[in-house]
Symmetry: C4
Subunit: 336 residues, 4 copies
C-alpha cells in the first residue's frame, strides 16, 4: 500500500513537477546535474583540462550515469500513474511510455556509457561528445520552450518546404557561379559541388569571404542571388510568425472554452478561478492573454443579454446559452 | 472502352496522386528518378567523376529523358479527365494544359536534350546544367510547398516593391561610398558600378569583407547604411508573414464555408466528416486549424440558438439560417 | 473652353494614370525616361565611359531636364482638377500641391541642373550623383509600393525606437569591446569611436571580418553580444510585420464599409460592382482579400436575416440594418 | 500650502511630462543633458581628445552629476502625487518608488561618481564607461519605446527559450566541427570551447571569416548547420512579431472598452472625445487604430439596433446593452 503512495508522490514530483519542497528540490538537483554534465563535456574536450582532472571526470561520469539510470528506471516505474486506464494495463502503458520522445531522450543520455563496454574500438571523442545530448533532457523543465517546440512541430512541413526552396536556390546559384567563374577559380568554383560551399554561405548571408566571385559576370550574378536570397531566407521567419500566432490563437480559444464552461452557472466563485488558473498554466498562455479572453467573453455575453418582454414587463426566462452571465432581472427592468 | 479506364486510372495516379499501391509506387519511382537526376548533374560537373563514368552518365541521361518524355506525353493524353467539360473539347483542353506551368516545367525538363541534336555549337556545360531545372518537377509532389508558392505568388507585387526599395537603397549607398571613398580605393569604389558590389554585399548583411571602407567618412556613412539596411531588409519577412497569415485565414474561411454547408441539416454524419476531411486536404490547412474552425462554428451557432416563445412556451420553429445546428426542442425547454 | 478639356485630360493622364492609349503611352515614356536617366548616371560615373560619350551625356541631360521641367509645370497647372473646391481656389490649391511630397520630389529632380548655373564651384561628381534622386519619381507609378510606404510611415515611430535600441546595443557593445581589447588592438578598439565600427558591423550581422576580437574575454563578450543582437535585430521585422497586418486589416475594413454601403439596397447590380472594383483598387487590397470580405459580409448578414413571424406566417418587414442582403420572402417561408 | 502646489507642478512636469512651456523646456533640457553626457563619454574615451579637454570634461561631469542628483531627489520627493493612496502613506509610496526600474536607472546614473570617492583603486576607464548607462534615462521620454519594451518584457520567456535553442544549436555545431576538423585546425577547432567562437559567429550569420572549415566533412556539416540555423535564427523575429500583434490587439481592446463605456449614453459629446483622446495616448495606440476601433464599434452597435415590434409598429424601448448607440425611434420606423 505504501509503495503506491511513493509511486504517486514520485509521479507528481517528476512528471507533473508539483508537490512538496522536497519534490522541488529533487527537480532542481536533476536540473543542476544536467547543466554540470554539459559544462564537464565542454571543458573535458580541452586536452589540457582533461589531462589535469581525468580521474575526477571519470568518477563524475560514473556518478551521473548512475543517477540518470536510476531516474530512467523510476520514471518507467511511475509512468502508469498518468491516468486510470494506464493503471489497469501497466505493461502496455509502460511500453508506450518507453517509446515516448522524452523517454527516448533519457535513454540516449545513458546509452553511450553502457555501449562503450560492449562495443569496442569506438572513438572516445565521439562517445564523450554524445553526452551533450543530455542537454535535450532540459526540454522537460521549461514551459515556454514547450510553446516553441509545439510551433516548430506544427510548422515542420512548411519549414521543410521553405528550406527545400532555399536549397534549390543554393543549388541553382552554385550552378550559375560554376558556369560563370568555373574556369577562373577552378579550385573554388570548378564544379557544382565545390561552388555549393560558396552559395550556401552567401544565400544564408553568412558571407565568410574566403571565396568571392571576381569577374564582372560572377559579381552581377551573385548580386542578384543575394537580393533574391533575402526574400527566400525570410520564409522561415514568416512561417514561424504565422505559426506562432495561430498556436497562441488556438490556445486562447481552448482557454475561452474552459472559461465559458466555468461561467455556465453565471458566476465565477473562488474555486472556479483556481481551476481556470490551473487551466491557464496547463494550456500555456500568458496572464495578459487570459485577461483579454476574459474581457472579451464578458463583453460579448453582456451584448447578448436578453431584455424583458416589450409588452408585459415580466422578464423573459431563457435558458442561458453557454457563455451567458446570468443577470438578475432587477438589473434589466426596462425604463418604462 | 478499356482505354478510357486506363486513361482514368493514369489520370488519378499521376495528377491526383491517388489510387492503388501501383499508382503510389509509380509516383515514388518518378520522384526518385528526379532526385537521382539532380545528383547526377551535380556529380557530373566534377571533371574527375565525369571522366570515370562518362558512358554510364550518358546512358542514364538517355534513359531518364525517355521516361520523362513518356511521362510528358501521357500527362498530355490524360489531362482531359480533369472534368467533364474538358472531355467534350479534348483538343482545346489539351492545349490549355500544355500551356499550364507544370506542363511547361515538364517540357523544360526534356527540351535541352533534344535541342542538343538540332542546335550545334551549344556549350555542353550549360546544357548539362539546364537539367537541374528538373528539380522544378518536384513542386508537383509537395502539399505545403503549394502553400508557400501560393503565398509567394499572392505577395509577388509587394515582394517586388520591397526588393525595389532594397535596390534603391543599394544604389544610393553605392553612390554615397563612391563619393566618400572613390578617390582612395579607385579600384573598388572608383565608380558607382564598382561600388555596387560592396553595397549589395553590405545591405544584404552578407559582408564578405573583400571590400571595406577605410576612411572615417566612409565608415560613418556605411554604418548608417548598415543600420537602416536592417529595417529595409526586414520588409520581405514582414510581407511574407502577413501574406502567410492572410492566406491561412482565407483557407480557414473557405473550410468554414464548407463546414457550415455540411452542417446545414444540423448534424454531421460519417459521410459528411469524410467529405470535410477531403476538403481539408484539398484546401490545405492543418488538422489543428480545422478543429479550431469546427469549435468556433459550433460555439457561435450555439450562441445563436433561438429560444422558445416567451408567451406560449411552444418552441419557435425557425428556418435555421446557415451555420445552425438544429437543436431538439426538448433540449431548449425553458426553466419555467 | 477647350483648354479646360486639355487640362482635364492631362490631369487624368498624369495624376490618375487613366485615359486613352495616348495617356498610357505618355506615362510609359516618362517612366522609361526616368529609368534611362538612372542608368546614365550610373554609367557616367565610370570615368572611361564618361570620356567616350561626354557630349551625348550632356545633351541627354539637357533633354531630360527639359522634359522633367515641362512635366513639373504641367502638373502644377493641372493639379487643380483634383476636386471641385480646388477649382474654386486655384492659387491656394496649387500652392498646397507644390508643397506635397511628390511635387517636391519632382522639383529635386530638376533643381541641381539649374543650381549648377547660379552656384559656382560645386563638386561635379556630387551634382551628377544628385540626379539619382530622380529614382524617387518612380514611387508615383507603383500601387503596392504605396502600401509599403504607408506601412513604413505608419510604423515610423516604432522603427525609430527599434533602431534606437539597436544603436544603444551597438554603443554598449563598443564600450565593452573597448574595455576588453582596447589595450591589445589599440588601432581598432583603442577608443569607443573606433570600436563603434566593429560593433555596428557585428550587431547588424554583416561581419566583414576586417576587425575581430582576439582575446578570450573579447570573444566571450562579443559572443553574447552576437546572440542578443539577433533578438534586437529582429525587432524591425516584427514591427513591420504587425504594421503590415494592421494596415491590410484597416484597408479591408474600409472596403467592408464601402461594400456594406453598396449593399444597403439589398442587391448588387452591375454598376455597384464596377464601383466596388474601383474602390478596391483605390483602397489598394488584393482581389483575394476583397473576395474574402465579400464572403464574410454575406455570411454574417445571412446569419442576421430575420425570419417570418412564428404565428402568422406573414414576413416581418424590418428596416434592414446596414449589411443586410434583402432576401425575397419566398426564400424564407417557414417549414410549416 | 504653496509647497504642495510646487510639488504638484513638478510631478506633472517630470513624471506626466505635461504642463506649461516651462515644464516642456525643463524636460527638453534634461533630455539634452543626457545626450551630451553620452557624447562626452564617447569622445572622452579617445585619448587625444581627453588630453586636450581633460579639465572641462571633469567640470562638466561634476555639473551633470549635480543636476542628475537633484533630479533624483526631486523625483523621490514628488512621486507621492501619483495617486491619493500614496499621499496618505508618503513613506511607503516613496520606498516603493525608489525600487521602481526608472528610479534604479536614475540611481545608477549617479552612483559611479560617488563610488569613485569611497572605493579606491577602481579602473578609471570602467568608471567613465559606466556613465553610458545614463543612456537608459532616455527610455522615460519615448512613447513608442514603451511599446517595444512592453513587448520585450511580455515575450521575455519565449525569447529566452528561443535564445536557449539557439545556444543549443551553437553548442552542437561546435561539437560537430570539433569532431570534424579538430585534428586539422587544432588552434581553432581543437576543443569545443575553441570551436564555440566559430559556431556562434556562423549560426548568427555574422560570418567574420577569420575561422573557416577546410575539409569536405567540415564544409558539408557547417553547410547543414547554416541552413538549419536560418530557421532557428528566425525564431526571435517570429516571437516578437506575434508578441507585437498581441500587444497591439490588447491595447485596442482596452481602448474599445473605454470607447464603449464613453458611448453608454448613446452619443459622444466633445468632453467624451477629449477624454478618449487622452485614453488613446495613455494606452498608446496610433490614431489610425483608434479610428478603426471606433468604426467597428459603430458598425456592430448598428447591427445590434433593435427594430420595431412586428405587430404594433410602436418602437420597442429596450435598455440599451453596453456598446449601443441610442437611435431615435423616428430613424427606425418600419417601411410599412
Amino acid at each position: 500500500m505504501r509503495l503506491v503512495h511513493i509511486r504517486r508522490w514520485l509521479y507528481l514530483a517528476l512528471e507533473e513537477q508539483k508537490g512538496s519542497d522536497l519534490a522541488k528540490c529533487l527537480n532542481r538537483c536533476l536540473l543542476l546535474l544536467i547543466v554540470i554534465n554539459v559544462c564537464v563535456v565542454v571543458a573535458e574536450s580541452e586536452y589540457r583540462i582533461y589531462q589535469a582532472y581525468a580521474l575526477s571526470f571519470q568518477w563524475f561520469e560514473i556518478f551521473s550515469v548512475g543517477v540518470f539510470t536510476l531516474e530512467y528506471l523510476v520514471r518507467a516505474w511511475v509512468c502508469v500513474e498518468s491516468n486510470h486506464r494506464n493503471l489497469q494495463y501497466p505493461i502496455r502503458s509502460r511500453g508506450r511510455y518507453l517509446l515516448s520522445p522524452m523517454a527516448v531522450v533519457d535513454l540516449i543520455a545513458i546509452l553511450p556509457f553502457y555501449l562503450s563496454f560492449f562495443v569496442v574500438g569506438l572513438d572516445l571523442r565521439v562517445l564523450r561528445s554524445l553526452r551533450l545530448l543530455r542537454l535535450l533532457k532540459l526540454t522537460r523543465y521549461s514551459q515556454s520552450l514547450g510553446l516553441l517546440v509545439a510551433v516548430l512541430r506544427q510548422e515542420a512541413d512548411n519549414l521543410v518546404s521553405a528550406l527545400f526552396i532555399l536549397c534549390m536556390l543554393i543549388l541553382l546559384s552554385a550552378t550559375g557561379i560554376y558556369l560563370a567563374e568555373g574556369h577562373i577559380q577552378p579550385d573554388e568554383f570548378g564544379s557544382i559541388p565545390r561552388a555549393l560551399w560558396w552559395s550556401a554561405v552567401t544565400v544564408a548571408t553568412v558571407g565568410y569571404g574566403d571565396v568571392v566571385p571576381q569577374t564582372l559576370v560572377g559579381k552581377v550574378f551573385s548580386g542578384t542571388i543575394i537580393v533574391t536570397g533575402i526574400a527566400v531566407a525570410a520564409l522561415p521567419a514568416a512561417i514561424l510568425a504565422s505559426g506562432m500566432i495561430n498556436e497562441l490563437k488556438r490556445r486562447r480559444e481552448n482557454f475561452r472554452f474552459e472559461l465559458v464552461r466555468a461561467m455556465e452557472n453565471g458566476k465565477l466563485d473562488f474555486g472556479g478561478l483556481r481551476y481556470l488558473e490551473k487551466m491557464r498554466v496547463k494550456i500555456g498562455i500568458s496572464r495578459a492573454d487570459a485577461r483579454l479572453v476574459f474581457e472579451e467573453v464578458k463583453q460579448e455575453t453582456r451584448l447578448q443579454t436578453y431584455t424583458h418582454c416589450p409588452y408585459c414587463s415580466q422578464p423573459i426566462m431563457v435558458k442561458h446559452p453557454p457563455g451567458h452571465i446570468h443577470v438578475s432581472p432587477t438589473k434589466q427592468s426596462p425604463k418604462s
